[in-house]
């Protein structure tokens, strides 16, 4: 296919199609990515709220448990007076509670007096629960979960700061992130006599809360100041316990608003910590401590690796890519078809123009189309018809002109010029074939008086009649011509014998001698004189043959002889 309009048009159309499909696909992919990130953020935010709600529920459950324990008659009884039975009963209660809540490190009943002496204490030690008694019981009055709780009214919950537990002898809780929830045991008459403290395993609690979150979710938990308490990287938690604070607002700058109390929730997807390998999409919310606490509040957050979010977009991207490729293919195909459809009639017209006079190619012109190409084809067809017609007319005129130039208008016989041509051809042919030909000069005797007396019209009629008679007695291959007023010549080709020429001459003479009859006129009789020259006998060129025939004719006229004497000179 030559680089013509079809190729250019096809390429252009295909390019436009491919470009349109590509751009659409690209934007679809990009916006789908943005949408996915947004929806991931919202999902994270929702999950964070759900988690926060769960934490609140857990805290409320802890409060209820504390209420149950502090209001239990055994608690008050054990504090009012040393009473081993009541203590045993309480220890059993504590143990039961801890069996059902694996997240509890310790439950204790602590007296307000005696330096905050522990009265009943059950510790978790690995998988075992231990009742701590006697000498091992400690005085805890100087811990805020005791002295701050004692200031609360009955049924109010105290929440301690979340720190690493450094209390010696606390079994599983030692060295672990822990939080104490406590509630006073109040004697209606004597006021608070002690507290019940539940020591909660922070990591265990959160592991339980976050258990049904998607695997890729990362949980962050920080105190109001921003110190990480829970972080996927354990080494970044409780930095203050090691003297180097690790703050959420340093890792996720957007959370500064939460730390400084300017907003309640933030969503971020630029939280790329300097030492974090992968960018995260994350949602954080601030949660106020709803109970008496040394913690002002907490920041809770969930994050998801950005890559995991975008991965869904990549699947979509593959589908989009397939669609785009499909559309591109269709575009290319369509472009090819359109290019062909447009250029085929043009090619047809072009072929028609090339074979202008050829009827076959004209048949293919798309004249039936109703569009611009059809109109063009019809115009072209009309033009072509006109031109063809005019050319035919011109050709006809030329043929006529040619005939006029070579024939005698009166008799229709060839004139002198045409006869000369034929004579030359015949001579050449005879010379080659070593054949004989004859040249006859014919002259009407006493024609002039007839012409004068009967008029030119009659003379013309006679000349026409004579021509017809001569033509009637020669072969088709022979030529008769009128070369003057009443002079005719006849060329006989392939004369095998001189007598044949003589015979033709005699027949002509006899035919001419027949009377001419005109309307209302007496018949007219004429005679002709005929001179014969033979090739090669009487000459080998036209001039000598003509001379000889002329001479012979005049001789016959004069001496009534038919044959000219052979040339003397």
């Amino acid at each position: 296919m030559k680089v013509g309009i079809a190729v250019k048009l096809g390429l252009l159309l295909a390019l436009v199609g491919v470009l349109a499909a590509g751009v659409t696909g690209f934007y679809a992919y990009n916006s789908s990515r943005a949408l996915l990130v947004d929806s991931a953020k919202n999902e994270l935010l929702t999950s964070t709220h759900v988690l926060a709600r769960r934490i609140t529920l857990v805290r409320e459950e802890l409060s209820r448990n504390l209420q149950t324990l502090t209001r239990h008659p055994a608690a008050l009884a054990a504090l009012q007076a040393a009473n081993p039975d009541q203590e045993d009963q309480l220890a059993t209660l504590f143990r039961l509670r801890m069996e059902s809540d694996p997240g509890y490190f310790q439950i204790r009943l602590i007296a307000a007096g005696n330096g905050g002496m522990e009265r009943v204490r059950v510790d978790r030690d690995g998988k075992e629960l231990i009742r701590v008694t006697g000498d091992e019981l400690q005085e805890k009055g100087h811990y805020s979960y005791v002295f701050d709780t004692l200031r609360l009214a009955a049924g109010q919950t105290y929440l301690s700061r979340i720190v690493i537990n450094r209390e010696r002898g606390s079994h599983s809780a030692l060295g672990q992130p822990a939080v104490q929830l406590a509630m006073p045991v109040v004697d209606p008459q004597r006021g608070p006599l002690g507290v019940v403290v539940i020591n909660v395993d922070l990591n265990g609690l959160f592991a339980l809360l976050a258990a049904d979150l998607p695997q890729e979710y990362q949980l962050f938990f920080a105190n109001q100041e921003g110190d990480f308490l829970i972080h996927p990287d354990r080494s970044r938690t409780f930095g203050f316990d090691r003297g180097r604070r690790v703050l959420i607002q340093d890792e996720f700058p957007d959370t500064r608003d939460l730390v400084e109390g300017r907003s309640q929730q933030v969503m971020t997807d630029t939280g790329i910590a300097s030492d974090s390998s992968a960018p995260l999409v994350a949602a954080f919310i601030a949660q106020q401590a709803s109970v008496a606490s040394n913690e002002k509040g907490f920041i809770l957050g969930l994050a998801q690796p950005r890559a995991a979010v975008i991965k869904q977009a990549d699947a979509l991207g593959t589908v989009i890519l397939q669609i785009v490729l499909g559309i591109c293919l269709v575009c290319i195909l369509l472009a090819a078809l359109v290019a062909r459809a447009v250029t085929r009639p043009i090619n047809l017209m072009s072929a028609a123009v090339e074979g202008f006079a050829d009827d076959d190619s004209a048949k293919d012109l798309p004249v039936r189309r109703r569009d611009e190409i059809g109109a063009l084809a019809r115009s072209f067809s009309r033009l072509r018809t006109q031109i063809t017609q005019q050319v035919a007319e011109l050709r006809q005129s030329r043929v006529e002109l040619e005939h006029l130039a070579q024939h005698d208008t009166l008799t229709g016989l060839p004139n002198r010029a045409l006869f000369g041509d034929r004579m030359e051809i015949a001579l050449a042919s005879a010379r080659r074939d070593d054949a004989r030909l004859a040249l006859l000069f014919i002259d009407l005797d006493r024609f002039k008086p007839i012409n004068d007396t009967l008029g030119h019209a009659a003379g013309d009629l006679i000349l026409k009649e004579i021509s017809d008679r001569i033509r009637a007695h020669i072969r088709e291959s022979d030529t008769a011509a009128r070369i003057g007023g009443d002079e005719f010549v006849v060329l006989l080709r392939n004369v095998s014998h001189p007598d044949d020429a003589l015979s033709v001459a005699n027949k002509i003479r006899d035919a001419a001698a027949l009377p001419f009859i005109f309307d209302g006129q007496p018949p007219i009789t004429l005679s002709v004189s005929i001179g014969i020259a033979l090739y090669p006998d009487n000459g080998i060129d036209m001039l000598s043959l003509a001379k000889h025939a002329d001479t012979a004719m005049y001789s016959e006229k004069a001496r009534n002889r038919m044959f000219a004497t052979p040339e003397q000179d």
Partner: protein
């Protein structure tokens, strides 16, 4: 798209490989110190001036300091602040290296009692300078003027049942025993004899029963003092805590008890694990300048070694901290005491 991301990661990797050239000029100076000694703005000036990076780690007890420095043979830090009493065991354990005095020209700015090595016991050993004094404080008593009309004149005020549940004491093993020893009237609070231990333990248990709580950080102590209405505070951080409480609007007084106030002098020392000794010495020299000194006094109420201290209430003498007879034992017993154990269990082996 994942390929594009792959290329980007590769690019980042290449860029990050080019960066260490610039970063190596500023190898991090690892500083282990106390709150208020190396505030971010003070550190920033030093970083800008030297083109280095400073990593500050804060500790709040001598025990934590010893733990951090000795645990990995001082490999984790370059320079740290330690009091002269504590310094001795670091020197003996070879955890610190001598300082080139010529590298600290700002020592000339110090008051004579700090710039003259002979005047400060414990910073010289075998004719070599091991530490440069930085700041000091006596551990006086801070009291609430509204609750205590007459300034307490004895350390035993901490045990006064009138203030039961209104006393705040530092959570520190070593010198709480010194405090108990002082209260018991021992002449040498830093050297407990074997027969002194039960009494000291009893005294500290009694203290535990009289306090509201034990604190570790200056901020924490001020917060507890104000919010829980404490009356008396054993000021382990001295004037620093006084300043904090004054800023918080408390009407407080500061007194040096008649038994004498334990006093510490914190110095900068260079560890044997120092990576860039010149930089560590430049750090020490820089902190003796006026700028950091002003931050120390104005912001934290700490004394500097370059200017005369503002006068404080009380007239007792200062008892400079000295190494104690057995730090580990004091700490072990203290941990039991603070956890609430009774004397029998505290003294158990």
């Amino acid at each position: 798209m994942s390929r594009l991301r792959h290329h980007l990661q590769l690019l980042c990797l290449l860029l990050s490989m080019a960066l260490p050239v610039a970063a190596s000029a500023g190898d991090a100076l690892r500083v282990l110190t106390w709150p208020g000694y190396a505030d971010a703005d003070v550190v920033k000036v030093f970083e800008q001036r030297t083109g280095s990076r400073v990593e500050v780690t804060l500790i709040d007890s001598d025990e934590a300091l010893w733990q951090r420095i000795s645990s990995r043979d001082a490999a984790d830090f370059d320079v740290f602040a330690v009091n002269t009493a504590e310094l001795q065991r670091y020197i003996e354990s070879g955890l610190v290296v001598p300082i080139d005095s010529a590298a600290i020209p700002n020592r000339a700015l110090q008051l004579p009692q700090f710039s003259d090595p002979d005047a400060v016991p414990g910073i010289m050993r075998d004719g070599k300078l091991f530490a440069v004094p930085y700041t000091y404080a006596e551990m006086g008593l801070i009291y609430d003027r509204k609750q205590i009309s007459e300034a307490p004149d004895s350390i035993t005020a901490l045990w006064d049942p009138r203030y039961q549940g209104k006393v705040l004491v530092y959570n520190g093993g070593s010198h709480n025993f010194s405090l108990a020893s002082q209260a018991l009237g021992h002449p040498t609070p830093f050297q407990l004899r074997e027969e002194d231990w039960p009494a000291a333990v009893d005294k500290l248990i009694a203290l535990r029963r009289n306090v509201l709580s034990f604190y570790t950080q200056p901020d924490e102590s001020a917060e507890l003092f104000v919010s829980r209405g404490a009356a008396l505070l054993f000021a382990n951080y001295g004037s620093q805590q006084l300043k904090l409480l004054q800023v918080a609007g408390a009407d407080v007084g500061y007194v040096i008890p008649r038994e004498g106030a334990l006093a510490w002098l914190d110095c900068w020392a260079v560890t044997r694990g120092v990576k860039n000794k010149t930089l560590a010495e430049a750090w020490i020299n820089y902190l003796l300048e006026q700028g950091p000194g002003e931050v120390l006094t104005a912001r934290h109420g700490l004394a500097t070694t370059t200017s005369q201290p503002s006068h404080q209430e009380g007239s007792g003498r200062l008892v400079w901290l000295e190494p104690v007879e057995n730090t580990e034992r004091r700490i072990r017993l203290w941990e039991r005491i603070v956890s609430g154990d009774r004397a029998s269990r505290v003294l158990a082996p």
